[in-house]
């Protein structure tokens, strides 16, 4: 840990869920604050200056997505959203509003902590400036020479594939929504052409994954987006 006592804020109306999230985080050395409502959450976020916000989307006094949007106006804090299954539109809304990641209820402590760590790592990596070389599994991307290798063998990527991989790598660990990826790689005019993504993701997996049908790094978050896991 780079900082001795990172601060986390839990915004959740269910006491028991707050309780175990708190227990789990404190065991990892976090200092944890709690809030039950949107209003309280924003106040806490403003005063405590947290490094991490874990927010439920269904809060008694309003929409969690609105809170994230508000928060993003003045903070770049990592936001992880808690959501129920079958709420993919909500997840996309939250991610588009600025959330970094989501966890689907019910979730275990291990799952929660893994997400927290991954996001924290990315945050720190961004802070310490990206290195010239990005690695995941047997793959390495050399941004300086624009070369991608797998197990030391150079892999030929088309310009689009390379750009797609670049965007994924730059946000490694984070869920990138379809809309975001399309805008970043193809430009705003293609924001709805999700089949482009499906085709190119398939090609990337074919070239970079050991078993493209059971990918380990380039993961699909169905109906939400994609995530590169190092």
């Amino acid at each position: 840990m780079a900082e001795p006592h990172p601060v986390a804020l839990i915004v959740e109306d269910e006491r028991q869920i707050r309780h175990f999230v708190r227990t789990a985080l404190e065991a990892e050395g976090w200092q944890v604050h709690e809030a039950e409502t949107v209003k309280q959450g924003l106040v806490e976020a403003g005063t405590r200056r947290p490094d991490l916000v874990i927010a439920d989307l269904g809060l008694p006094d309003g929409d969690g997505v609105d809170m994230i949007r508000e928060l993003r106006n003045w903070s770049s804090v990592t936001v992880i959203v808690l959501s129920a299954r079958s709420d993919e539109t909500e997840k996309v809304r939250a991610l588009d509003a600025g959330a970094d990641d989501f966890i689907t209820k019910p979730f275990g402590v291990a799952e929660l902590l893994a997400r927290v760590r991954a996001n924290r790592r990315r945050q720190q990596a961004a802070r310490t400036d990206a290195s010239e070389i990005f690695r995941f599994g047997a793959v390495e991307i050399d941004f300086a020479s624009r070369v991608v290798r797998k197990s030391g063998q150079e892999v030929h990527l088309t310009p689009i594939e390379y750009r797609l991989l670049g965007v994924l790598a730059a946000n490694a660990g984070r869920v990138l929504t379809h809309r975001y990826l399309l805008r970043e790689v193809w430009g705003p005019s293609h924001a709805e052409s999700t089949h482009y993504l499906r085709v190119y993701m398939g090609q990337l997996r074919q070239k970079l994954e050991d078993d493209p049908a059971q990918p380990v790094h380039i993961l699909t978050e169905t109906a939400v987006g994609y995530r590169l896991v190092a």
Partner: protein, 905 residues
Amino acid sequence: MAVTPSDGRPDPDALLAQLRGEEVRALRGRLRIYFGSSAGVGKTYAMLLAARKRKSEGVDVVAGVVETHGRSETAVLLETLEVLPLSQIEYRGRTLGEFDLDGALARRPTLILVDELAHSNVPGSRHPKRWQDVEELLAAGIDVYTTLNVQHLESLNDVVGGITGIRVNETLPDTFFDAADEVVLVDTPAEELLARLEAGKIYLPAQAERAARNFFRKGNLMALRELALRRTADRVEDDVQAYRSDRAIAPVWKTEAALLCCVGPREGAEHVVRSAARLAQQLAVAWHAVYVETPALQRLDSTARERILETVKLAEELGATTAVLPAQDAATALIEHARAHNLSKVVLGRNAAGWWRRGGSLRRRIAERAADVDVIELGDGHRPQAEVKGDRTAERRAAEPGHESWRRYAWAVAVCVVTTLLAVPLVGVLELANIVMLFLLSVVGVAVALGRGPAVLAAFVNVAAFDFFCVPPRLSFAVSDVEYLLTFFVMLVVGLVTGQLTAGLRYQARVATHREARSRALYELARDLSNVLLADRVVELAQQAIAREFRARVAISVLTQDDRLQPPVPPIDDFDVGTARWALDHNREAGLGSDTLPGSAWLYVPLKGPMRTRGVLGLKPDAARFLMVPEQRRQLETFAALTAMALERVHYVEVAQKATVQIESERLRNSLLAALSHDLRTPLAALVGLSDALALSHPRLGDVQAGLADAIREEATRMSNLVNNLLDMARIQSGEIRLRREWQSMEELIGAAIHATRRVLGERHVTVRLAPGLPLVECDAILIERVLANLLENAAKFSPADTPVEVAARVEGDSMRVSVADRGPGVPKGQEEAIFEKFTRGNAESATPGVGLGLAICRAIVEAHRGRIRVEAAAPTGAVFVFALPLGTPPLVDPADEVDPEPVR
């Protein structure tokens, strides 16, 4: 009236009718008739040759009934074919062989040979005529080859009779002949035929040999041959015309030239009807035949009326639309009917009107009143014998007035006697001129009260009485003053005219009463049926009303839910459910007076509702003749339609009630499920997390406690999955499910599903085999991932932990086939369908967890995508769940997008 488009395009209605006709024809068998001028031309031989050729082509040919008449060459041909055994029918102590219709229907060949189309079946067969058997074979989709001689054609029957002097009783309706798909003319010149007759090659029944020898005269044969040739030519012309209208070369049938045939009361009417049928056929127009029943004709005796109705029925068989019109005046009724039905030609027999008729002949009266109507007058056929017979009947009729009319005449005489008794004492007191008034009054009174005949009688009796008792010299018929002759004459004329007028009025009043009674009966039944909600009550009301109206026993047999005919309640002995079923299945009347089993005591009328036939109405009238009047038949049809409609309405009321109850209970269940699921989910999420937190808490738990914490977590997770499934099912069932279709990669969905179920799959090895170049498929990604995840979970649940699971996808036809195979015990035989039902598991006693919602959800989702899901057995063990999604045309990925001018950051 159909307007014929002038631009040469076929009339859309006509085209539609033609299409419908083709549709019907496609289902029906095809009929080919071998048509010849007389016996011995070789029709059967030609038919057998053709059949043998078809058989060699591999067609399933059966000889239903073929008469070889002992001809060896024909018998040889027949040997190569399968011959259907004849059915044996008992008739008057003898057993007669007859074509076995049921046997033929059961055997169901592609093509059947049925010789002698015009043959009359042995009484007791299903149909009286063989052509009706053939009709049923055709309706069953069996092709039929048959033979026919020209003299058996209904419309040519009397022409042939006139030429040869021999009348044939076995006739075939022209409509049936015209409806045949093919007619093959088998033609042999007269000389050759005679030569064959000499050589003994033509079979002649021994007892009729002399008559037949007479028949086979050269002149006859040539005339018959000409008839056959001409009739075939007419048909060919029809075919050409049909072909033309197919090709839009010529406009379709003109309807404006339609014929109206007036059926007269005399015997020659039959000939007129036949001629009209021929005329209509030659002109290629529709035709109507009507019988106008004037008051005079009402008084005909029952045999004459029956014969008229037979003639009307003959017209119907010859293809006419028929009606019996009660009216005061035939000309007016005919003109009205012609105008109402757009018929521009009226066909009359020459002596349809007698010299005594007011205003001259019917033809002249029609011509005077309707200048736009063409009147065609036909000869009555030379049959002086028949005329004489007709006159005799008329005499007999006059000589034998009915029982009731006797009484009326007696009354008339009584009135005269009373008048005379009253008048005699007044002679001398009053002027004779005034006494005449008394007699006159009594004639008028008789006319009004008793009708024309008694009035005429009263007129004569009164004249006589007046003369005898009042006019000097009294008590003598002698007349002193010639002036009184005028008095007698006036009295007589007044009596006759008043009688005539009142009789007409009475007749009209009776007709009106009948009509009113008919419409009232209909109206009452309609009103009664309109607020009935139970089928039993509909049946009861209809039975009562119809029994009243038709003076008959009535039984209604209703079709039940499981397509059975419920026998009438209370049971009736001679109501034949078999015949009723036949009427239902063929949607045609059967039994009494119909074409099928006409000897039956009951008439079976199908109850045709707008959607389907709802049952059968059985009717056993007190007088069968009653049902022969077309109006009565129509009335019966209306009653049947009304009943059918009421039954149908009641049926749908029941259906709607059931549906409402079902919808309500479904909605209740779904909202309950949704609420439950939601309230259960939150605490379960907490439980999973809390048990985890407990396991990871400090100080570390002991092994036992850690195990317990883990178990809590497992159970909570399971419970949570269950609740999720319940919620999914509730959503799917409430119709809330909306597909968010996008073009998805199956590889990606499979990957995501395996990732999501990794925990359940454990260490199991999952192989994914995807056909190269798999296209994108348009589907809802979340739902299809759920299907895959459920199938994977299922595989994990029902197969040993160390066995592999295989997922495969490939294109098969126009769909993508995705399968998930395990090496478990497989699905028990017979359960393949049931496991996709809610709350079903392969083995009810199995300890393996899961309520069995997973597969039901899979099916609902796949079916929402218009796909199919099923389970198959895998080799050597295990189950393969296969689902198929329809493929579309995925959008293109523009390769130009690959050309990327911007450098990568």
